[in-house]
Subunit: 174 residues, 2 copies
């Protein structure tokens, strides 16, 4: 899938100096590119036997929603604090400085349900790990993680070692 890289725009020094940002908006504005990304994600999720897709706010919503529609699966949003109106559970995750938090509705997952977590990108794996913990607290089983991009120079493997992680393209240095 390395050919997908031609749809990704690399923006230097965003959001801060020295960081290279991999911009998926150029992928999204090309329907051929978007669908080339969706197809293998769709196949992975089907193969894993998932019953629900948990998509992480907010770029994860883009891939998760199209995949839920393609696969006739429930779409569950994992959101930033204060956005979900009903009873929620939450998990903190570490940032470079301090922590942040994600929430899910407490009634979003039923015991024993098989779930795939979808996002655009894995960096440190902290947000995906937090979402995995919430799914498991609700009694669900994380049968896979599906993302477009993995930053393989960052140490996400340790955090996500118990999960089957599928990515389409990787960048192995900053």
């Amino acid at each position: 899938m390395e050919e997908l890289k031609k749809y990704i725009r690399s923006v230097p020094d965003f959001p801060q100096a020295g960081v290279n940002f991999y911009d998926i908006t150029t992928l999204l504005q090309n329907p051929v590119g978007f669908q080339k990304a969706l197809k293998p994600m769709e196949e992975f999720i089907k193969k894993r036997g998932a019953q629900k897709i948990v998509a992480i706010e907010s770029r994860g919503f883009i891939f998760g929603a199209a995949l839920a529609d393609r696969l006739n699966l429930a779409l569950i949003p994992a959101r930033k604090p204060g956005k979900l109106p009903y009873e929620t559970i939450s998990e903190e995750y570490a940032l470079e400085y301090g922590t942040d938090k994600l929430e899910m509705h407490a009634d979003a997952i039923n015991k024993g349900e098989k779930v795939v977590i979808v996002d655009d990108l894995i960096a440190t794996g902290g947000t995906i790990q937090a979402v995995g913990k919430m799914v498991e607290r609700l009694g669900g089983e994380v049968v896979g993680v599906s993302v477009v991009i993995a930053l393989t120079f960052l140490p996400y493997q340790e955090k996500l070692q118990k999960y089957e992680v599928n990515y389409l393209i990787s960048y192995d240095k900053e």
Copy 2:
């Protein structure tokens, strides 16, 4: 489309006392409901001859992404400030107290392109109006606005009177 209301959860006093929040997560977690919402949005966008979908962060991403996939259209995100990495333009809009801002990439729309704006809900119309202004500043033409829910007790019509607005269900009192 009033039957879609059975998939929407009404949550009282969110985000503040006296406000009724129409929760679409119950729609999203039911694939039948999600697709019942997507189908008429898809037909509207096709009928309007749109070439691009501009989806508003972040619940608009969910509907916009599935529709872009169904219709083979470019998906352009309108995002909260500081999220888009490349050259952006922005528009402010009024909140109950103060203002907020949305951004789009300056190269996201080409002159003469026909655009439909997608979001989950129209309340005052302020965010959609701001996005419409950005599309027009970039030379695009807003051929329609497609949302799931319209809060028809709020005065959005005036702000959006020059647009063809399509909604699936409406609530006419708080």
